[in-house]
């Protein structure tokens, strides 16, 4: 086994990530304005930007879902308990002792087990909760006649806002974890350039060198 510099986040994935990040920031900021938590922008401006950013993000997600399933990349998010204990122990204890991260990226496992579970929950629970409730909310004009005087819209808003708080908490932890490596740059750059250090099996290395030479340095 050898450690090589491999293209792990390809162009689409990086574009997806940063578009999603921008949209989520806009959505959080405008969403909390709509909820009434701050008044840094006009209500109608907030609604306009919130709607626009949501539509962009939904478009990105459509592509991302298609990409994940056609490329088989979705397997990166399969939950596993292998090595999970070590990672938890690291964040809860080892990190304070100056230990190194116990996980090394593999070609078919670019996320550590904790990451995979966290992203899996995000993608399978929080994101669906927010986009399903968001679309239902957005289409209020179509169903409002069926819900006169009921708490349905309030219920939709409840799910939407609850998911938003959870996503904000995720964003905080996600960004914080960038600082836990040797440097911020070490964690950030793979999502910028796509290249990262990956432990390769000899077969993987041989495959990349022969069939995808552009993915390995």
């Amino acid at each position: 086994m050898s450690t090589r510099t491999v293209m792990v986040y390809r162009r689409f994935e990086r574009l997806w990530h940063w578009t999603q990040m921008s949209c989520i920031l806009v959505l959080l900021f405008t969403g909390f304005a709509i909820r009434g938590l701050h008044r840094l922008i006009d209500f109608d401006t907030a609604v306009t930007w919130h709607t626009g950013a949501a539509l962009v993000l939904l478009g990105v997600w459509l592509f991302a879902v298609f990409w994940l399933f056609t490329t088989g990349e979705w397997r990166h998010y399969l939950p596993t308990t292998q090595g999970l204990g070590k990672v938890i122990r690291y964040y809860a204890y080892g990190i304070f002792q100056g230990e190194s991260h116990p996980y090394h990226k593999a070609l078919l496992r670019k996320h550590n087990p904790l990451q995979a579970i966290a992203y899996g929950v995000l993608k399978l629970v929080l994101f669906p909760a927010i986009w399903v409730s968001g679309i239902v909310y957005l289409l209020y004009g179509l169903w409002q006649g069926l819900a006169l005087g009921t708490g349905w819209l309030g219920g939709v808003a409840f799910i939407h806002v609850a998911a938003a708080y959870a996503i904000l908490a995720f964003v905080i932890i996600h960004v914080y974890l960038l600082t836990t490596g040797h440097s911020l740059r070490e964690h950030l750059m793979p999502m910028v350039t796509g290249w990262d250090q990956v432990d390769l099996m000899p077969e993987e290395e041989a495959y990349l060198l022969k069939d995808e030479p552009g993915r390995i340095r």
Binding site: L153, Y165, Y176
Partner: protein, 561 residues
């Protein structure tokens, strides 16, 4: 206009008909003749119109009435002019006597209640019934002063009050009333009947306004969205009636068919789904939607699309009339009858302690009416409204201890598709009621006799007489009860750039704070979700911070790999 010049009626006015002891004392006083100037503000004018010129109303009529030989006169009276009108407009009389402007009576199709000024009690001067000598000045007819008026006599129709285009036509009370009110109508130039008759045209704003601007006993008193400022409004006051712009007459929206005018508040179309209708279809309502359609906002932006989602639940008026009484004329919001009847030297008087936006001083006390409070340029009251009102009429028994009696309670609910959030002017009043029977009362206010409150200042006698006149049971004991009334707001539509901003409702301190049954983003945050959510975010930040501190602490202490 000067009430103090010496008109022909001065002889009658020279004899003060004051009743009671004070009256007798005054009678012996050598000085109260009309040669003497009346004390300041003893006159009880409720309508002083300085701007007599008619508004510009473009006519596309094919007839020039000045050329009609039937209108050359001479005419000595209104009914003579009416007969000339009806000679050509052969069906107009038959049509008109069915209209609310003539009958003052409206049987509500849904509630079955008998409404109309002929019977209703309001929260202002309380009742026209029995006081027609004064109140029927605003009846579109001649001579209604008591129950003997013949509602089938078409010659008594007053065509001119609506169709005069000279601005010089006016009406006076149909009976003289008591001395305390009799200085109101002196000094007016006699009506030039021929000139007025030949001027006729479709009504301008001042024709409708002659009554509708002055409802409740003075300029702007009753409605809050109808006052003399709408005679020549700027664009900011009313985008449709803007004298330099659209310059709409009232009848542009209040279309009529056979003299039946649409848009009565007795049967409000609170949610018009008909929209503009097909080309050529006649508009039969006075709603905004009848011109602007049911999806009135441009659907080319998110805001426009969202606003079109709102029209299902929110009346156009709610956003497009940001504040009421904003033309410089204040509207009355509070009336307390309990203080009525105070006199100075035996004379009724006024106190004018409110200066309204246009600089005029308006009465905060009148001996004949009591104490008043005003407001102007203020946000209306909002409520779910389906167009129906439930009136407290003379025969409605209420519980005076159960809070303010709604003279007209508006009906509507969040779960009713026909209801929308509407703006209202809320009027608060303390007025007399029958303490024994727990009903409202008719007061005999206007008259030449000693029971008329406007002269005698005796509630007991005025109520007893007002009730007895119509055979309505009266316990003999009166008290004062708190009442409120609600006036749907629909005029003073602002230009779109001045419409209520989204955030006015979508915030914690919302304009529609009291509106229930609907989730309003921005207003309805709070509760445990946001507490929990913010706590979770806060704890996450705290956890991250602690984690970072521990790392820093560990790194200093130990070796880094």
């Amino acid at each position: 206009m000067d009430a103090r010049s010496a008109p022909p009626r001065a002889a009658r006015l020279a004899i003060p008909i004051l009743s009671g002891l004070l009256g007798c004392l005054l009678w012996l006083n050598p000085g109260p003749g009309r040669a003497e100037e009346p004390p300041l503000d003893s006159d009880m004018h409720f309508r002083i119109v300085a701007d007599l010129a008619p508004t510009d109303r473009a006519s596309d009529s094919t007839a020039d009435h000045t050329k009609f030989k039937e209108l050359q006169g001479p005419f000595q009276s209104g009914p003579e002019v009416t007969q000339a009108c009806l000679a050509c407009h052969t069906e107009a009389g038959k049509h008109f006597i069915k209209s609310l402007h003539w009958t003052w009576e409206f049987i509500h199709p849904q509630t079955g209640q008998k409404l109309g000024k002929k019977t209703l009690i309001n929260t202002f001067c309380t009742n026209a019934r029995g006081n027609e000598g004064m109140c029927a000045q605003c009846h579109a007819g001649y001579g209604w002063k008591d129950d003997n008026f013949d509602f089938t006599d078409q010659t008594k129709i007053d065509c001119l009050v609506c169709h005069d285009r000279t601005g010089t036509y006016y009406k006076t009370p149909n009976s003289p009333g008591n001395q305390s009110c009799s200085v109101m109508f002196e000094g007016k130039a006699p009506i030039a009947w021929e000139r007025v008759a030949q001027s006729v045209g479709l009504p301008g704003r001042e024709n409708c306004g002659a009554c509708h601007f002055y409802g409740g006993g003075g300029d702007g008193v009753k409605h809050g969205d109808l006052d003399s400022s709408l005679k020549r409004p700027a664009r900011a006051l009313d985008v449709h009636m803007d004298i330099d712009g659209l310059n709409f007459a009232c009848t542009k929206c209040h279309v009529s068919n056979r003299h039946l005018v649409t848009g009565s508040r007795y049967d409000v179309k609170a949610h018009d789904l008909g929209g503009t209708g097909k080309p050529g279809e006649r508009r039969d309502v006075a709603t905004c939607e009848s011109c602007h359609g049911a999806q009135p906002h441009h659907a080319t932006s998110v805001t426009g699309i969202k606003l079109n989602d709102h029209v299902n639940r929110i009346a156009c008026q709610t956003c497009h009339i940001p504040t009421i009484a904003r033309g410089g004329v204040a509207t009355m919001v509070d009336w307390d009858w309990r203080t009525a009847g105070k006199t100075k030297d035996g004379m009724g008087y006024k106190e004018k302690n409110y200066t309204q936006g246009n600089g005029e001083h308006v009465a905060t006390y009148k001996s004949i009416k009591g104490s008043f409070a005003y407001d102007e340029n203020f946000a209306p009251h909002y409520g779910w409204f389906d167009g129906q009102m439930h009136y407290t009429t003379i025969d409605t028994v209420f519980d005076p201890a159960a809070g303010a009696v709604a003279i007209n309670a508006y009906q509507g609910a969040a779960d009713d598709p026909g209801s929308r959030i509407w703006p209202f002017k809320r009027m608060h009043t303390i007025q007399p009621y029958d303490k024994g029977n727990n009903t409202l009362v008719y007061m005999h206010l206007w008259g030449e006799d000693d029971d008329a409150f406007w002269g005698t200042y005796d509630f007991g006698r005025a109520i007893a007489a007002g009730m007895a006149q119509y055979g309505i049971p009266y316990s003999g004991e009166y008290g004062f009860v708190e009442t409120e009334s609600f006036w749907p707001i629909t005029h003073m539509v602002a230009p779109k750039e001045d419409a209520v901003a989204c955030v006015s409702c979508h915030q914690q301190d919302s304009r529609i704070q009291e509106i229930d049954g609907v989730y309003v983003p921005g207003r309805d945050r709070g509760g445990w979700l946001d507490t929990l959510g913010l706590a979770a975010v806060g704890l996450t930040l705290l956890g991250v911070l602690l984690h970072a501190l521990l790392r820093l602490f560990g790194r200093k202490k130990g070796a880094h790999a």
